[in-house]
Symmetry: C2
Subunit: 341 residues, 2 copies
Amino acid sequence: MNLDDRKKKILSSVVEDYISSAEPVGSKTLVDKYHLEYSSATIRNEMKLLEEQGYLEQPHVSAGRIPSTKGYRYYVDNLMKEKKLSMVDINYIDNSITGFGDTEKLLEQAADVISKVLTRPTVLTLKKQDLLENIKIVKVSDKLLLIIILSQNGTVKDCFAKLTDSVQDQTIEELTEILNKNLVGTPLENLSLVLNNVIAKELTAFSFVLDKICESIKYEMSKEQKKLSANVESILELPEFSDVEKAKNFVNMISTKEVIDEALEKTKSNGLGIIIGSESKEVMLKDCSIISLDIEKDNKHIGKISVISPKRIDYSKTISTLKYINTKFKNLLLNDKDEGG
Amino acid sequence: MNLDDRKKKILSSVVEDYISSAEPVGSKTLVDKYHLEYSSATIRNEMKLLEEQGYLEQPHVSAGRIPSTKGYRYYVDNLMKEKKLSMVDINYIDNSITGFGDTEKLLEQAADVISKVLTRPTVLTLKKQDLLENIKIVKVSDKLLLIIILSQNGTVKDCFAKLTDSVQDQTIEELTEILNKNLVGTPLENLSLVLNNVIAKELTAFSFVLDKICESIKYEMSKEQKKLSANVESILELPEFSDVEKAKNFVNMISTKEVIDEALEKTKSNGLGIIIGSESKEVMLKDCSIISLDIEKDNKHIGKISVISPKRIDYSKTISTLKYINTKFKNLLLNDKDEGG
DNA sequence: AGTTAGCACTCAAGAACTTAAAGTGCTAAA
DNA sequence: TTTAGCACTTTAAGTTCTTGAGTGCTAACT
């Protein structure tokens, strides 16, 4: 399982050249471009051995070599040097992720900016388990209420309730208090269920308002936890997808919740997970890599941002980017807690 | 400019066959599939005349005919029969557009659902001119405020302000009142400007809170009025884009604000506008059609949903869909006003 | 005069073949 | 152990050939 220095150098060069060129790498290219101090014949011999050991593969006999899943894995685990992000990228990220939005908006911004920096699609998955922090009801006008739902993960949702009769300011205040007394700490997904109980139990007097509120909240919560895919179109730029049929398949795959869920199941390892090609059980992903970052708040896992790409992707830059985002989020979300409680 | 009945029948059949098949239509196809009671030779003669008059064109001499821009236009204006939407589509639309969200969310839902029903991308453009209806400030915790900005067009925006010191409930109340007194009716885009003036003038006492609020609002408002493109990937299904290069161009075009803006400039005619191919000045759109719906609220134009497609699109279904959405919105947005004032 | 059958003609798309280039693996020499 | 050299393989690109779809025109027909 261990390679000598020369093999390491060759493997590393093949991976890096292929990542940037998308063309199988031949022995001559390595001599010319990477100034390896061996002849092309020697490199050919070594590459043959690397292929026999499963690190490289050959699309056909007269082509150069491309890294196999095992080759990428060895590169990522042993050979890759961590790159520093360019100032351009850092500035772009810093300007794009501000602390003003709620958690969900922050994560969306991050998924978006990552996809731009890496020119690959990203998928954002939010953890469903989120508890109610607070409900506020704002009377917009006589018969229109704005309901604001704050979650403990720091997400804000708002929805309208349109009433059939007008309602007093004081009623709203009382109602808000009662709702919060009964609902704080409830998982968001159970909210409408518990709400129904509250109504049944003690709030029949308010039901003309509460029914509407309940209806609205129920709908808002029933919406499937959004899975946002950013920058899916970016794949069109990749030579891997010069065939529309392949592009279509990839898009369909990304949109298939199950495929992604399955893959993400086991992507966790100190916040950063990498699945390369056939390491995933999902056959549809056999030519793809998923690199994903777990986002935590108050030591609780609240969501995940995943970069989805053909196996050919700049792993080093991807990891630097995700790490940078991670520290950024640590600060952003920490501040909430420190200053907010 | 007027065509006899036989020419109308032939033109109409060519357009409809081409819309569904994406293949140039030959004389024999017309006889077989559309049971036109003339021989193929007669139809050939007629098609030649239609081509000479500019209604049809021929990709090459041994191919059938496809409609020209002029042909589509004649079809849309004179020949097309309005289709009823299927119950499936109506149900899908009804279930997808609920009245619980704010205007912006409603429009996003609509743009999304339209793109699904028509399997074409849609672009949502929101009118910038929107005045402040109300600002609410909610104290989430000691040092964290949630600022809710309600616009007269019915859009809700919220952002956080993180304070360095804790703040009294009463301060918030006073502040909210002062802000509303000074800011209601201000165009959203000027909000932070006017806010700065307010601070300077009379609110120096609150500045430790207000500065943060101002910063947050400023950012929230500075975000370019989002132009949301839904379902861009759907183009991959169209034979027009079996070449990735073309798909790429199309995506880039959609993402180029200027191109779309230019085209949309003059899409208004009783709410529904149709631009076909070279009717647009923008050369990039010469093979595309844009069908767009103006959304009004209280007789004010607040936004536009546009379907963007190759010229080959089911115009009849598109128009039915947009009309249905339009009546739906009339009700949804009317309710706001009636009940809300 | 309008319509239609018939036929020669054109062109694109695909099949079959040819060629050129890239890159290998092996052998034998350094 | 390394390397020069060469025969060999395979793809990609280019060329030619073939087929089929569909036309436009002419001449006959109603």
